[in-house]
């Protein structure tokens, strides 16, 4: 079965038309189909610095998790109590559960 291949990328053909004249006025192309000299690519270090800064800003805008209170907090505590009562070896090794934790009747 013949494998379909993607056509090779080629530079866009710029036509010397009225449209290109118009666009040349905006600075995106030059008359004659020549692109301006490309901007120098940033180094990987510069890129990562920008990304880190961007992530820091995004993270600083994530609202904090709302705190639990009242019955929701009590439910979490009861879950932890039940988990301690049913703790298995995996629980103990994962979180150092206190297996001595037991509810009093």
């Amino acid at each position: 079965m013949a494998r379909r291949t993607r056509p090779a990328a080629s530079a866009p053909q710029v036509q010397d038309t009225a449209d290109s004249q118009t666009s040349s006025q905006t600075g995106s192309q030059t008359i004659g189909g020549q692109y301006p000299a490309p901007c120098p690519s940033p180094s990987p270090d510069e890129l990562s610095a920008v990304l880190v800064e961007l992530l820091r800003k995004i993270n600083s805008q994530v609202p904090p998790t709302p705190p639990l209170e009242g019955r929701a907090l009590a439910a979490v505590e009861n879950f932890q109590e039940i988990s301690a009562e049913l703790a298995t070896l995996a629980d103990v090794s994962a979180s150092n559960f206190s297996t001595s934790s037991r509810r009093s009747a």
Binding site: P63, L68, A72, F79, T88, D91, S98
Partner: protein, 379 residues
């Protein structure tokens, strides 16, 4: 229960113990169970904190050196003592859903074949010295009718088949059957009850779906938040009511205890341990592997009875879903105010939110139904 015992003594002590000791340990666990029966507390019979009004052994057997267990196993029945204080233990056992999930791996059937082969010949080779006690204990405790008067002895002339005796409560509580039939592939015969929670699965999935919405939008600030706390509470109450209806007056507690105990024994055998050491029977079968489900696959391969391919998901969901259902039965999520506990992340891995995430992930894998997808309304 055996997985909880293993946090107090070495699992090797359990595997090497005399079956007489193990049977008494289970009796003692039932006798000293969490039992909040003070009428002022208003806890109904069958509630997670008051599962049954049946006695295990008579009270006089609890005096002195009773129960008759060796010193190696005594920490299990000894009052706890720590920096926080001391006092008697009030053991609790897993919810029936734990047994249902773990049995779906086909673990019980695989080990049944193991015991069968060792009892009838040397197809698997001769058992090692260390595995002899495991084989004896397993046959005595989980492939026999059980000693008379013991709380775990749920087989009788009226219900002689231990496997059918578990399928019946599964069907009554969850409206679900195990994913495998008998060895011949045919549906396993058992008595189906008319009074069964046939809406459990649809209600539970709706509950998971609503909690997932809450998880998705818990920190949303720039969009509308479709989390419906009231609906979560309504679904939790609906689940509680249907489960507790089957548990009226302590119904099904003995069956639950018996099923959970049996499954925990085999589960402990497989999950012990993940540091390249194994239970005696796993070593005897040369089924060492990394991970509980991988050991099961190897044991299954030895006896020619395939385990379920999604066994890891069944093992991983079992503890979390057991704990959440116990909480639902307790009524912890009956109000909208408590619902955020199910979807709000908290520090650590031991939280309802973390448990719900595990349940949602594994439930989706097991059932093939994506509870993270929103329901599409049709006109």
């Amino acid at each position: 229960m055996f997985r909880q015992f293993a946090t107090l003594v070495s699992p090797d002590f359990l595997f090497e113990a005399h079956p007489f000791e193990l049977a008494w340990l289970l009796e003692e666990t039932w006798r000293t169970r969490l039992d909040l029966k003070d009428p002022n507390l208003g806890i109904s019979l069958g509630d997670p904190a008051r599962r049954s009004n049946l006695d295990a052994t008579p009270k006089y057997t609890s005096d002195g050196l009773w129960p008759p267990v060796s010193n190696r196993l005594r920490p299990i029945v000894t009052p706890f003592s720590s920096d926080e204080g001391s006092g008697p233990r009030f053991p609790r056992w897993d919810h029936l859903i734990y047994a249902y999930m773990v049995e779906n791996t086909r673990m019980y059937e695989v080990f049944r074949r193991v015991v069968y082969e060792f009892a009838h010949g040397e197809k698997l080779g001769a058992p090692t010295a260390a595995s002899q006690t495991w084989l004896r204990n397993t046959e005595e405790l989980f492939f026999k009718d059980g000693a008379p008067f013991f709380i775990t002895s749920v087989a009788s002339h009226l219900r002689p088949d231990l496997r059918a005796n578990r399928r019946n409560p599964y069907q009554r509580m969850f409206g679900m059957e195990l994913n495998h039939g008998g060895d011949d592939g045919k549906p396993y015969p058992y008595v189906k009850a008319d009074a069964a929670n046939n809406d459990f699965v649809s209600t539970f999935e709706e509950f998971l779906r609503e909690v997932w919405v809450g998880m998705t939008y818990v920190t949303a600030s720039s969009s509308s938040n479709p989390t419906d706390k009231a609906k979560i509470a309504v679904l939790a109450t609906k689940l509680k009511n249907m489960l507790m209806s089957r548990r009226q007056s302590g119904n099904l507690s003995r069956e639950e205890f018996s099923a959970v105990t049996a499954m925990a024994w085999f589960h402990l055998t497989l999950e012990y341990k993940n540091n390249n050491d194994s239970a005696p029977i796993v070593e005897a079968l040369r089924a060492e592997a990394n991970g509980t489900e991988q050991r099961l696959f190897k044991v299954a391969e030895r006896v020619g009875l395939p385990a379920h391919g999604l066994s890891k998901h069944f093992f991983d969901i079992a503890d979390s879903i057991s704990r959440i259902l116990i909480q639902i039965e307790t009524g912890d999520y009956d109000t909208a105010e408590a619902a955020p506990a199910l979807y709000t992340p908290q520090a650590g891995d031991n939280t309802p939110e973390a448990a719900m995430r595990r349940i949602i992930t594994h439930w989706t894998a097991i059932t093939g139904r994506d509870v993270k997808a929103r329901k599409v309304a049709t006109a």
